[in-house]
Symmetry: C2
């Protein structure tokens, strides 16, 4: 569950601008502010089931966007390559060749 | 017009997966394969006006996606920073500090 929460937080971060204001509100209360379904239902004066259905649909939409645009996946790959560059720069005599190879990998990601 | 074509090619490249199959077909014939509106209309047995309207709507959608997700803008910023890294690596004694600063800029883009 923790892993799913982390993933949803990332997906929300990348794709929230594609959601409706209501989807944004429910998702950010549930995933960022850790409200329960019941608390959100009370806040918006709707049924707990309505909140649950909306959040489930939104989660599925976020996964669909990720399937199409891969922003989270590319972010992870890019982060890994940037960490690698920083490790190389920590060495006393960083290899230019190794650095150029990482830069080429970064370029390929776009 | 050439500038607009280049921009549309890029936006199409970033967001085509969010379009319908028909939108993808018309856009790729018009922008990538340089078909005229009349040629596309003939190919799909629809009016020239229908093709024109579809393409105009799709262009507006692509601009809306870019406004929300900024993938093209971030790509341009990232490309500039990666060119800068390569220039630094071309120097005889690249400054580690300068390189780390560019890496930090790249991280901020995500």
């Amino acid at each position: 569950m923790l892993e799913k929460t982390t993933r949803m937080n990332y997906l929300y971060d990348f794709y929230y601008s594609l959601l409706t204001p209501k989807q944004q509100s429910y998702m950010s209360l549930y995933y960022l502010d850790d409200y329960s379904l019941g608390e959100i239902a009370e806040e918006y004066d709707v049924s707990r089931q309505a909140v649950y259905d909306n959040i489930k649909r939104t989660e599925a939409m976020l996964e669909e966007y990720e399937e199409k645009l891969l922003l989270f996946q590319k972010f992870q790959e890019r982060s890994k390559l940037l960490r690698h560059v920083k490790e190389l720069l920590n060495e006393e005599h960083p290899s230019k060749q190794a650095m150029l190879e990482v830069v080429a990998e970064l370029e390929k990601l776009d």
